[in-house]
Structure formats: C-alpha cells, structure tokens
C-alpha cells in the first residue's frame, strides 16, 4: 500500500498538470471573485470563507477524473484488483494520494488566499483548520464518484453532477465553521460535525467505492 501511495504521488508530480493545477485554479478563482463582486474589503472579507471553500471544492473536483481513469485505461486497476491488497485499501490510498496532491497544498496556501480576500487575523487560521478537516472528506467522496464513472468515456461532467450534491453537507459545515470562526462566534458545533463527516466518509466510503470499482471491472 505504501508503494502504491509513492507510485501515485510520483505520477501526480511527474506527469505534470495534476499537482499544481488545482492550486492554480484555486488562485484564479480567488483573483476573479473581486472582479465580479467589486473590490470593497468589507464585502470581500465577509464572503471570503464561503468563496474560498467553494474554490477549494471546485479545485478538488477538477482533478478527480484522474484518480482512477488512467489506471483503468492502461489495465493497472485490473492488476491491483488481483493483488493481495484489498480494493478498499487501494481506494483509500488513491484518495489519500489525491488529498496529498490537491487538498494539502490548498490547506497550506489557504492563509495567503485569505489575505488576498482581505480576511485578516484569526479568520485565516479558521479557514486553514476547516479546510484541513474538510478536504479529506472531499477527496474521499470524490473518489467514490470517480469509481462510479470510471468506465464511462468523458465522464467528467457526469462526475461533477454526481459528486457536487454529495458535497453539500461538507460544504455547509466547513464554510459555516470558517465563517463563525472569522466572525468570532463559537464555531465548535459545525467544526465537530465537519470532523464527523470526514471520519464517517473515511470509514465507510472505501467500501462503496471499492464495490463500484469491482462492478466496473467485471
């Protein structure tokens, strides 16, 4: 499993596009928002947690079709299915690799992006904390969507249609916790619920995603 993780990370970094693309997309969204809503700092700071969460979610979505697609096309997935590692483990590792290459950079860059959005002080750390807690769930749920659509050519749009409704609770709790934190209100409840969604996704979704992959390979 560790070998698989290292292989996936290597592929993501070396194949080009995958690693930096999500971050660049996040940056562009953050830059475009002020053009759309105007440069007033107060408004930007108010909508910053929501916009940055949305940006992170879309950046995550952008790279999802890579999670299984290439391995499915060149037959690697068939080999993995016959290997001693259970498919659930493969899915978990793939989602982890996806998070390490898209989620983690977003978390690390969040304070800088928050600064661009005029979000100062504790709001930056709240944003970083909620993204750190929430993006693993985004990767995991996304891996499930990718597993469902792996057999479909040009399934990218379908993947978004399937995955975005599943992101609703994560987005609500994540953005709400970040907003409350930035405004200085107690944010413990949404934060715990967000952590709960992440924990539940990590525990249960690998089984559903692995089942979907087996169905696609049959």
């Amino acid at each position: 499993m560790i070998a698989l993780l290292i292989r996936d990370l290597r592929l993501a970094v070396r194949a080009g596009g995958g690693f930096g693309l999500g971050l660049a997309f996040f940056l562009i969204v953050t830059i475009l928002v002020p053009f759309g809503v105007g440069p007033e700092g107060a408004i930007l700071a108010r909508i910053a947690p929501g916009i940055l969460w949305l940006g992170a979610l879309l950046a995550c979505l952008l790279s999802l079709d890579r999670v299984f697609q290439l391995d499915f096309e060149d037959g690697t997935l068939d080999l993995l299915a016959t290997s001693p590692v259970p498919m659930e483990g493969v899915v978990l590792v793939k989602a982890l690799a996806h998070w390490l290459t898209t989620g983690l950079p977003l978390v690390a860059a969040a304070p800088a992006f928050a600064m661009l959005m005029q979000l100062e002080g504790p709001g930056q750390y709240w944003l970083m904390l909620t993204l750190a807690l929430g993006t693993p769930a985004l990767s995991m749920i996304g891996a499930f969507g990718a597993a469902l659509t792996v057999g479909i050519r040009r399934g990218g749009l379908l993947l978004s249609l399937l995955v975005l409704p599943l992101y609703v609770p994560t987005l609500i709790f994540g953005a709400e916790a970040a907003r409350r934190g930035a405004e200085g209100i107690a944010a413990g409840t949404p934060l715990l619920l967000l952590a709960g969604i992440t924990a539940g996704s990590l525990a249960l979704i690998p089984f559903a995603a692995a089942a979907a992959i087996r169905m696609n390979l049959r």
Binding site: I141, F144, L148, T149, G151, I152, G155, L158, L161, L162, L164, P165, L166, V168, P169, I172, F173, E176, T189, P190, L193, I197, I205, A208, A211, A212, M215, N216, R218
Partner: protein, 245 residues
C-alpha cells in the same frame, strides 16, 4: 417467502401487473378526482390565505411522493444488489423520472404559493433547499443510468449511488436546518403530533395523498412494463443479428 419472490420473475411480473393495471389506474383516477375536486371546490377558504390554500392538495402529496419514491428506489436497489431480480432494478430506474417530476411539481407549486404568501418566489429555507438538493440527486441518478451501456453494470452502480446518496441526502437535510432558519410551515400531517391542518382540509388532503400514491404505483407499473418490453426487444434484436452473422 419464496412464493413472494416469484412475483419478481419477469414473466410473472408481466402477467400480474397487466391484470392489475386497469383497475389500479381507474382507482387512482377516481381518488385523485374526488380528492382534488373536493379540495378545490368544496372546502372553505382559509383566513389569511384566501384561495391559495387549495394548492396544498397538490403540493403536499407531490412532496410526500418525491421523498417516498426515493426511499422506494433505495429499497428496490437493495433488493437488486442482494437478490438480483431484474424487475427490481428496472422498477428503481422507472421510478426515478416519476420522483423527479414529483419534486418539480412540489417545488413549482410551492413557488406559485410562496409568491403571494411570502412575497418571494424563492427563499433559501431549509425545506426548499433540501428539495432542490433532492432534485439534483434524482438528476445524477438518472444521468448515471443513461451513461452506462451494460444494463447490469448500470443497475449495480446506480444501486450503490442510491444507497450512498440516501445517506448524504439525509445528512444534507439536517445540515441545511443548521445552516438557515426556516420560513416554511411545519408538517401538515403527522402521525404522532397534533394535526396542523383543520379537519375540513384534512379529509380531502388524505384522499389526494392516497390518489397520488396510487397514481405513482400505476405509472411505475406502466414504466417498468415498458422497460421489460424494451429489454425483450433488445434481446430479440441481438438474437436476430447473431442468426444473420
């Protein structure tokens, strides 16, 4: 119990559903007519609401069906995954479009009612929002069915989606409660609490609910039967092509 599952045999299904369909359709038409006509023309206008209250006879049953159809799809998906009855998978597929239509009817009638009553076509109220999310779930489910060519794989994958989707639909339902305060009134009917609707409205509403339920079952049988037939013609075509080759 084994005798029960025999109803899911496609041949048996076609025979009993064909016999059941005409009386069921008639019954659905009758209850719907009684419920709606009673509701529309023979109930008093409510204080503060005027005649707009009558939309309840379409809105509430459609909303209830939208949710129940998803639950029914969850159950038939599970039956497909566990017992591999093709009729079950086809029933889930057939139900999706009806569920989507019911969701649209509920949203549409709600908007028509909300404009004069709340002064707005749309508000980001928890109930409204969760119905919009349910609408997206139906869309995704149907899109996945349409995208996969192999019918068994499609049935498998959409079943998994229905199961995972149900969990997230429930999560979303409570998440939106957390996210915004409601404008929508409480439940119109409930089994354990005191009724929110006065008795004069209650009876036609229940009849309309039953009517919508029967209508759904009739539509579901029609659609499932046509799915079975489509699969049969497909099999025949394949056989002919094999014979030609």
């Amino acid at each position: 119990m084994n005798r029960f599952w025999e109803f899911a045999n496609p041949v048996r299904f076609m025979s009993w559903s064909g016999r059941l369909l005409p009386p069921l359709t008639a019954l659905a038409a009758l209850t719907l007519t009684v419920g709606l006509v009673w509701g529309f023309f023979f109930t008093p206008q409510a204080e503060n609401f005027g005649s707009t209250v009558k939309i309840i006879y379409v809105h509430v049953p459609a909303a209830a069906m939208a949710i129940n159809i998803w639950i029914m799809m969850l159950v038939t998906s599970l039956i497909w995954l566990i017992r591999r009855h093709h009729v079950s998978a086809l029933a889930a597929r057939s139900a999706a479009l009806i569920g989507l239509t019911m969701t649209v009817i509920a949203l549409g009638t709600g908007m028509v009612w909300g404009e004069p009553m709340w002064g707005t076509w749309w508000a980001w109220d928890p109930r409204l929002t969760s119905f919009l999310v349910l609408f997206l779930f139906y869309l995704g489910y149907m899109a996945l069915w349409a995208a996969i060519e192999d019918p068994d794989t499609a049935a498998d994958l959409t079943s998994v989606l229905a199961i995972v989707g149900s969990v997230f639909a429930v999560l979303s339902r409570y998440a939106v409660n957390f996210w915004n305060q409601g404008l929508h009134q409480g439940a119109s009917l409930s089994l354990d609490k005191e009724e929110h609707v006065a008795d004069v409205y209650w009876v036609p509403l229940v009849i309309a609910l039953v009517g919508f339920g029967l209508l759904f079952v009739a539509l579901l049988l029609v659609r499932t039967r046509s799915e079975v037939r489509r699969r049969r013609t497909h099999a025949l075509e394949m056989r002919e092509r094999m014979a030609d080759a």
